[in-house]
Symmetry: C2
Subunit: 491 residues, 2 copies
């Protein structure tokens, strides 16, 4: 039997790390900062991919694939971009190894040194805009709506499974438009696709907003973000959508002939989400018994566990379980039947609780006699015994209820942990005692933002899009503020 | 209007390169040997992925993701593997860039040198078996059936779009088993999945066989291959499935307790296909007018082209075209309607012929009056005029016919270009004049194999699995031969 998980109250961070490993979602590899995503974790990523990929295609985007390597010189083209990105990255300098005759070891062949070093992509704006120059001539080539699913590498000093890893998986959309308005609409459209995905699938309410100048993407004119609140009161940036203006078009000389026959630079956007979303999913819903997964993203939605003493009982239950399995599958429910002899039912109950399977279906000899089954919800631990002939309808309803309940719970948690403060004293106290999303007035300067961060570790997560902006006075400097912004400590 | 493609007869190689670029399947990037896969080419890869991924899952495999980087020392663990793989590869030596104060350029920060260099994976056996050591303890953990879709890098000197690129996309299956028999069954199962995929989707007959010692995968005990014949008579290795024996288990110390309670090393397999399959698809079926795609892998299956003079005619045709589009979509047919005004019908006909769309559907004013449409097959250029109310059934039938015809054509081509020779003179003449698959006796030695290759550029593609082996005498040395093997010049 497993030893107990650390609880969230004891140590949220250890609870998270231990949970990820014990469930078998991912593990640290022997390569510094790089994780291995194990099958159960990857199955969640595959679902995220399938759903978002469909949403991207429905809105006219196509997938493509650009090279992993970017020539070093490309990074210097867009001045702000190089400042933000070209620092911590994996640099390929050689293209051959050889056996060393003296030591009999494999060493780098110094004769195979690249003329220009290659950077393993930390993001692909530069190499993609380099291509777009040749792909775009006329307004008829626009909009160009491309997405890429790929791996990227950013040499992170402190890493945590899913939340911050040197290599991670993501999607990066890169679009080019004839007009500013159209590009701005695209940026908001993709932000909304992410937010809807959060609500409908991850069961997480995402706060939509704009990043400050200090926090925006290097090379963007404006960065939109979706921010989630975790159970420990810290914020997590779950995705971003950037309005690039004409910055990359100018850096890579991407012009087009508009309908009036004039040359102009195109307008760009980029937007992405990463495997970090799996970290968000875990920290938003899970509890001290293990993972809690929203049914729409669960690799297994229903686990059937037989309870038997004799092999005769097992055989009779197996027969019934297979009928149930088939019924549920017909209704596109992902169901697994665990009839392994080597583990007792109690062990299996704990195992699938740990794995976050939304519904546990137990069948014992009494159930067979009474034509019943016992269903247990993972989110509330509530048990119900139902007639076997009502199973399909009940399971469908229960999956929908669980999905909805997780969202409501996360939404209530956010409501309960979002509050306004008016003084810096109250702000510091709130951050120290309960964290959460703190709405406060700020004078709009990077200087103040930095000071607050240095003193409290809280950053401005975003300038919220919703609600009516009301002016006030900066809690730190007393200078005028146009509206409250959202502060939090963040992952 | 486009200038004409080079013909296959004139210059097969130029025809291929030009076709790939002109269709917009892929292009060379500015990074040496790395290609950009453009949306139309990537859409074919997505179909290949979806179909194979489903077949892998149906046979119990799960996807996972292992790191891009492999510590240099891992390659030295398996002796044969390092000989075959650790030579030409991308080596990461540093993890930071910095601004050079003097030149104002971005340079590699020499203070950020890695203690141990990282290799960008050329294949993942080493890092995966390193993980498997911790994942496998008992026979209950077996079989372990894992697949990964990823990018890999091999520093190739001569590259060609899809066929051989420095970075390419692929899937790599890596499985571990309790017994030799089970591992061998897995190897053959995956080979058959590839061969069936070739027949049912790519419409290419794959020859199944075993690689010679000289040609097998570095680290495998036995490599199975599927070999395809291209229209220029050259062979293309389309996929491989390796029986690894216990070599990687021993190199990475992966042991398990078997049912009898004894410790043993596990048995391994690995198997993969790559974006090269898109090259095979192109070279197997396409013609001098452009791409010819099997309907089951075509990103667009039916293109509707309106023929009109006036805007009134256009409006009426549009209405009818949208009804047709909807009808076909209901039957899961991928259909596009090209009603752009800026191009004439003739231009569009040539465009979609170039793009290999299986069926062209044209509607003009007469068709409207007569309730007809005109269908043109891409594979035979045959035209039929049908009643609009018979459309769906006809299109479904036609797509199946085209799929089948492409396979039959490729099969007949292979039959016509496969022949036995008994003397080395006849062999040299055949290779020089018509290439193809040449069945010949060989004495089983690497020495002879190398000499024949040096003199004729032909390699042994495989020792075929089908047919009854008949002994004979090696065409080169006269020594005894157990059976004919398949020679060809290859990509």
């Amino acid at each position: 039997m497993y030893k107990k998980l650390p609880t969230r109250a004891e140590n949220f961070s250890e609870w998270y790390n231990e949970l990820v490993k014990r469930v078998g979602l991912a593990e640290n590899s022997s390569v510094r900062g790089c994780m291995t995503i194990k099958p159960y974790g990857f199955a969640i990523w595959e679902k995220i991919q399938a759903i978002l990929d469909h949403a991207f295609k429905e809105t006219g985007h196509e997938n493509a694939y650009f090279p992993l390597f970017i020539p070093k010189s490309y990074f210097t083209r867009e001045a702000a971009h190089v400042e933000g990105f070209a620092k911590e990255c994996a640099v390929v300098t050689h293209y051959r190894l050889k056996s060393d005759a003296e030591t009999n070891q494999i060493i780098v062949d110094n004769e195979a040194k690249l003329d220009e070093e290659l950077i393993v992509r930390p993001t692909s704006e530069t190499i993609i805009w380099h291509s777009y120059k040749n792909w775009i001539q006329s307004y008829r080539d626009l909009p160009l709506l491309i997405n890429q699913w790929s791996n990227v590498v950013r040499w992170e000093m402190r890493t945590r499974l899913f939340l911050r890893t040197t290599e991670f998986l993501w999607q990066e959309g890169h679009t080019a438009h004839a007009t500013q308005t159209e590009a701005e609409q695209e940026v908001l459209q993709m932000l909304n696709i992410y937010a809807d995905f959060g609500k409908d699938y991850l069961a997480i309410p995402f706060l939509k907003g704009v990043k400050t100048e200090h926090e925006k993407f290097a090379g963007a004119e404006k960065t939109y973000t979706i921010e989630a609140l975790m159970q420990d009161g810290k914020a997590l940036q779950a995705g971003t959508s950037h309005f690039l203006g004409q910055s990359f078009a100018k850096a890579f000389d991407v012009t087009f002939t508009n309908q009036a026959g004039q040359m102009d630079y195109v307008w760009g956007t980029s937007w992405g989400i990463t495997t970090r979303l799996i970290g968000a999913l875990i920290m938003a819903h899970s509890d001290d018994k293990g993972l809690v997964l929203p049914p729409r993203l669960a690799p297994i939605q229903v686990i059937i566990i037989p309870i038997y003493r004799t092999q005769e009982e097992k055989a009779a239950i197996q027969q019934q379980a297979r009928i149930i399995q088939e019924q549920l599958r017909t209704h596109h429910i992902i169901v697994k039947f665990d009839d392994r002899d080597e583990h007792k039912p109690g062990w299996k109950f704990a195992e699938y609780e740990l794995k976050g399977v939304p519904i546990r279906l137990a069948i014992g000899p009494n159930d067979l006699a009474n034509h019943t089954v016992e269903l247990t919800r993972r989110d509330t631990s509530e048990k119900i015994v139902i007639q076997a002939n009502q199973l399909v309808g009940q399971v469908i309803q229960l999956l929908a209820d669980i999905q909805n309940n997780l969202y409501q719970r996360a939404h209530q948690f956010r409501e309960a942990n979002t509050y306004a403060v008016n003084t810096y004293e109250a702000f510091k106290e709130a951050i120290a005692q309960k964290r959460g999303f703190i709405l406060a007035h700020w004078d709009g300067t990077t200087e103040t933002e930095r000071k607050i961060q240095a003193e409290t570790k809280a950053t401005i997560r975003c300038i919220p899009l919703e609600g009516t902006p009301e002016p006030g006075k900066c809690m730190y400097t007393g200078k005028p503020s146009k509206q409250r912004v959202v502060f939090a400590q963040a992952y």
